[in-house]
Each structure stands twice: as structure tokens, then as C-alpha cells.
């Protein structure tokens, strides 16, 4: 193969092939548990991608993204439950509510540095969880069951208008695929724009960024608003996928941690990282659970945790860095010489020779 997969055309080619494979995927697996795993992979790929905009690009590690997920799930579901509003409308409304909530709450959070910021985000999601558990308007701890859309024969049926598919699960797959593509597209646009550059500068050195005119707080708020909106959209999807939500399924701490974990193990601050993380971690957790959890012991969690530890120990920059490792080895073999094309320094002395 002669196309360099890291070149611009190479990357588009990989993306196109991957997309075609994803579109055709249900034709090969039907509607069984593999389809369910694929839906979860795409769900977490999207959620990790959204997390990545704030946590990866801007380096602000949030362990409370389940709060946005829950707000998205609850906004559309309450609208549907009380006023029969279609989730397709509830989804953007939830995204806007989550973004507004994120901006209001993170405005003071961004005064906190490092670990304190992360702790505050954990507290945020936990407070929301307790609040929703005791809030009668959203039916508290009992949760909300979304009623079936029924056909003329009174049997549960499929409805694109109300984002609910009871005869075949395949449409859910295409909906979450669409959302995941949207999340990736958002990340790509952010990465290449002024916003992405500014976020990376903030991650690298906030004082230096300010000295170059970067309004640090404003750009962090933009990042968290985008991150929250995308996360909330997946929350709506998840509610429709399960047709039942309660505070535990949509806002629990493990969900927040898993979102961050997928992005971190995949590779922080890159668009490919979260996708790779979801592709490896989610099937792993599903397989270990289905194969080992039945016996009643917790062997699945031991294995799952062990694998995470292995990745963290040997691949601290995430799974994306594995490619770099092989590349470096290849380049080390290649004879030196590429380095000599350095430009002459017309005004100030020879540039440093360290590399």
C-alpha cells in the first residue's frame, strides 16, 4: 500500500472506509448482542469525544460529565412524558439546557486548579443525582418509563417521529452512528479552528496564553458548553434506547469515570484517541461481563481492571501512541539525514541542535 495513512488524503481515506464499514455493519450481525455492543461503542465514542473537547484539548479534567448526560436524558424525557414533545425536539432543547447549566456552574469551577477542579465536577454530578432522586416532578428515584408507541393493532411499533424502535433495534444503531459522526465532526472542526489552538495553549500554559491575548475563562466556557451540549444529545438517545431512565442509570459516578477513562486510555487531546478507546474498552467490558460475570464472582471486573492497569502502565499516552512507537522504531532504522534541511538563521545564530 502506497498511501501514507497519516497524510491528509490518507486520513480521509481511512475515515471513509471506516464509515462505510460502520454503515454496513448491521447487515452482517443482525440485531443480536453484537449490535447492542456496537451501539454502546458508538455511544461511548461520542461521549468520550465530547469529554475530550474540554478534558483533552483544554486539559480541564471533568469527572462529572454524567451530569450533562442526565440533563439531556431528563430534559427530553420529561418533555415527552408531560407534554408529548418528540425527543427529536427534546434533544436540542436538552443540549441547550445542558450548555447553559454548564456555563453557569463551571464559571466558578474554573477558578479551581488541577485536582480541585476534578473534585468539584465529581461533587456536581453527585449533587445532581441526589437532587433528581428526591425531585417529585421528575418522579424521583422511581424514574420515568417512556410509554411504547403502538401501532393500529395495539402492538409496540417503530416510530422515527418519536425516536423509538420496538420491532428492530437496527435504527437505533444508525441514530447513534449519526450522533457519533456529529461528535467527531465537531471535534475535528474545533481542533482545526482558532478555538482548538486556544484550548491547547490554555492546556500548555495559561499565563503565557493570557500574555498572547487569549481570554482564558471565555474559551474554557465555550469548550464546556460544546462538551455539555454534545453529551446531552447522547443522553436523549440513551433514554430512548432504554425507554426508561432514573437518576442512577444516567448520572452515576461510574458513568462519568468511564467517559473520562475511554478518552484517557484511547489518547487525550486527539480526535482518534476517544474512538480507539471506545473500540477497545467497551467490547472488553461487555465480553468480560457476558463470559465471566455469570458465575457470580467478580472475575470480569478483575480482568477488566487489570487490562486498564496494563494500558496505563505501558502506554501512558493512550492507545493512539502505539502507532507512534512503531513509527519511531522505523525511523530509527532509517539512515539519518532528514534533519539537515533546517533553514539558515538569517538574523540570530544557529538554531539549537538538540532534538
Amino acid at each position: 500500500m502506497n498511501v501514507d495513512l497519516r497524510s491528509r488524503t490518507g486520513r480521509w481515506l481511512v475515515a471513509a472506509v471506516a464509515l462505510v464499514a460502520l454503515v454496513l455493519f448491521p447487515l452482517f450481525v443482525g440485531g443480536g448482542s453484537w449490535l447492542n455492543t456496537a451501539v454502546l461503542v458508538l455511544l461511548y465514542a461520542g461521549l468520550a469525544q465530547a469529554w475530550n473537547i474540554l478534558g483533552g484539548f483544554a486539559g480541564q479534567v471533568s469527572l462529572g460529565n454524567a451530569a450533562f448526560f442526565g440533563i439531556g436524558a431528563y430534559t427530553s424525557t420529561v418533555l415527552l412524558d408531560r407534554w408529548n414533545v418528540s425527543p427529536w425536539l427534546g434533544m436540542p432543547v436538552g443540549a441547550i439546557v445542558a450548555a447553559a447549566f454548564a456555563v453557569a456552574v463551571f464559571f466558578p469551577f474554573f477558578r479551581l486548579g488541577g485536582h480541585y477542579f476534578a473534585i468539584a465536577t465529581i461533587a456536581l454530578a453527585e449533587i445532581l443525582l441526589i437532587l433528581f432522586t428526591n425531585w417529585a416532578f421528575v418522579r424521583g428515584a422511581r424514574g420515568i418509563t417512556i410509554p411504547f408507541v403502538r401501532g393500529p393493532d395495539r402492538r409496540p411499533t417503530d416510530s422515527w417521529a418519536f425516536l423509538q424502535f420496538n420491532e428492530s433495534r437496527v435504527p437505533y444503531y444508525y441514530v447513534v452512528l449519526g450522533l457519533a459522526v456529529l461528535a467527531v465532526a465537531t471535534a475535528v472542526v474545533v481542533e482545526r479552528s482558532k478555538l482548538g489552538y486556544y484550548l491547547r495553549a490554555i492546556k500548555n500554559d495559561q499565563q503565557a496564553a493570557r500574555s498572547l491575548g487569549v481570554p482564558v475563562l471565555r474559551y474554557k466556557l465555550i469548550a464546556v458548553a460544546i462538551s455539555a451540549a454534545v453529551t446531552a444529545a447522547f443522553g436523549t438517545f440513551y433514554a430512548q434506547y432504554l425507554l426508561f431512565i432514573d437518576p442512577e442509570t444516567t448520572m452515576r459516578l461510574e458513568l462519568s469515570v468511564l467517559i473520562a477513562l475511554v478518552a484517557i486510555l484511547g489518547g487525550v487531546g486527539t480526535v482518534v484517541g476517544p474512538l480507539l478507546g471506545a473500540l477497545v474498552l467497551i467490547p472488553l467490558s461487555e465480553v468480560t461481563r457476558s463470559q465471566l460475570a455469570g458465575s457470580g464472582n467478580t472475575l470480569d471486573l478483575v480482568l477488566y481492571g487489570g487490562l486498564i492497569m496494563l494500558i496505563a502502565a505501558f502506554q501512558p499516552n493512550g492507545l493512539v501512541a502505539i502507532g507512534d512507537r512503531f513509527r519511531r522504531r522505523r525511523e530509527a532504522v532509517r539512515p539519518a539525514g532528514d534533519e539537515t534541511e533546517r533553514g539558515e538563521a538569517p538574523l540570530v545564530g544557529a538554531p539549537g541542535t538538540r532534538n
Binding site: R192, S193, K194, Y197, Y198, R200, A201, K203, N204, D205, Q207, A208, A209, R210, S211, L212, G213, V214, P215, V216, E341, R342, G343, E344, A345, P346, L347, V348, G349, P351, G352, T353, R354, N355
Partner: protein, 247 residues
């Protein structure tokens, strides 16, 4: 025409310490002004006050007709006043080109335009050959040059350089001097902070000397080197010339 930068009785107090006390100075457009003084004289504090990193305790700072005392750093930058840091603050995980693009984005929203401007400035400062190296992988001399390039990319009217010469060998210093002259010739006024007198004297049009937070002398370089207060500040009271200057 009023001066580009005008400080009037600027003071900065940290608890019981007067880091700056009633410092007044003027920087005219098109000049290279040297701000010198021994270690701990308050040069960097003054810098931080002017560039918005600390609000001054009292006094006025006028830049290009605006009272900028107390403005946030990003606002000061947009008004046309850029700075570098004494301890280099390159973005370590970003490439040299991306580092400079952050500066260029102060004046444009389009990545392509920022990239073109950054590339042009890297050629000007002689870093073009390192454009795709990571910030962390540069030598100290190159990091300093990168900070300067990055600050220039914001298209400042006044560029404030905090000890860009420190840590450079004599050859690198000579090249830095050439570069600073070239920057002035492109139309950017330069305020240079150094504690090493030898590097400031040959290129400055005007020199201001701080000691213990106060201004003790100012004038053209050749009179500054003979000033008894300056000599005493650098070498100690013992070396104060017998013919005492104004105290």
C-alpha cells in the same frame, strides 16, 4: 504627540514590601528603551504591572492614549502591548509554528491567515527550520527566540522583553541585539529589561535604572554609565565616586 507609554508614580506594594515606589518613565514611539537595575530592583514587577498581570497599588499607566492600569493581560495585549517572560513559557507540547500561531490569532480568526503570518515571522527571526519541532525540544536560546517571535505575531506597537539575553552566550547575545534592532526598524517600539548593563547600553536610545523599587537615574546610555547612583547601586556604596551626585 504624546508618548506611546507613560508611567506616572506607579507603586506596587506586596504586604510591607514596596516592590515599586513612585516609578515614572516615558517610552517614545520608535525607541529602544532599556530598563535596568540589580537583581530585586523591581523590574519584573513593573513589567507585570504594565502588562496587566498585577494591578498597580497606585499610579497611572497610559498606553497609546488609554489608561491601562488594572486592565487584564489579554486586554492590554489587544491594545498593542506584548511581553515575553523572564523564565521562558513556550507551549511545550505544541510545535514552534503552533506556538507562533497562538500569537497571530490575536489579530485574526482564520487559521490559514494565522499560519501564514506565523511562517513569515519565523523566517524573520530565523526559526523557520524548527517550525515543526515541539516547543519542549528547543534549546534555551531558541525558546527565547520563539517567545519573541510569538509576541511579535500579535502585532504589538510596544514589545516588552524581560531578560531575553539572560543565559545566552556572547555570540547568541550579539545575534539577539541584531534581531532587536531589526524589530525596531520594522516599526515596533521596544522596552528591554535586563540586569546585565553591557547588553543594554549599546542598543538603547534611553535607559531607566531601578534600584530597590525606585527609579534612581535615567538618560542616554553614556551618561548612565557615569552616574554615581548607578555605580553605587551595582557595585555597592564603597565604590560611589567621591563627587556625590543627586541623591
Amino acid at each position: 504627540m504624546p508618548a506611546l507609554l507613560e508611567l506616572d508614580a506607579v507603586s506596587k506594594r506586596f504586604g510591607g514590601l514596596d516592590a515599586n515606589r513612585d516609578v515614572s518613565l516615558v517610552v517614545e514611539e520608535g525607541q529602544i528603551v532599556g530598563l535596568i537595575g540589580p537583581n530585586g530592583a523591581g523590574k519584573t514587577t513593573l513589567f507585570n504591572c504594565v502588562s496587566g498581570f498585577f494591578p498597580p497599588t497606585s499610579g497611572s499607566i497610559r498606553f497609546a492614549g488609554n489608561e491601562i492600569a488594572g486592565w487584564a493581560p489579554e486586554r492590554v495585549l489587544r491594545a498593542g502591548l506584548a511581553r515575553t517572560f523572564q523564565v521562558v513559557r513556550t507551549f511545550p507540547e505544541m510545535t514552534v509554528l503552533d506556538n507562533v500561531m497562538i500569537g497571530a490569532f490575536a489579530r485574526t480568526n482564520r487559521a490559514g491567515e494565522a499560519r501564514a503570518r506565523a511562517a513569515e515571522l519565523l523566517a524573520f527571526t530565523g526559526l523557520a527550520g524548527r517550525a515543526h519541532a515541539r516547543g519542549a525540544d528547543l534549546t534555551i536560546a531558541d525558546k527565547k527566540r520563539l517567545e519573541l517571535t510569538r509576541a511579535l505575531a500579535t502585532q504589538p506597537r510596544l514589545l516588552m522583553l524581560d531578560e531575553v539575553m539572560a543565559g545566552l552566550n556572547p555570540a547568541e547575545r550579539a545575534q539577539a541585539v541584531t534581531l532587536i534592532r531589526a524589530i525596531r526598524d520594522r516599526g515596533t517600539t521596544v522596552l528591554l529589561v535586563e540586569h546585565v548593563m553591557e547588553v543594554v547600553m549599546p542598543i538603547s536610545d534611553h535607559v531607566v535604572v531601578l534600584d530597590s523599587g525606585r527609579k534612581i537615574a535615567e538618560g542616554p546610555p553614556r551618561t548612565i554609565v557615569r552616574d554615581p547612583n548607578v555605580i553605587a547601586a551595582y557595585l555597592g556604596e564603597k565604590y560611589r565616586p567621591r563627587d556625590e551626585g543627586t541623591a
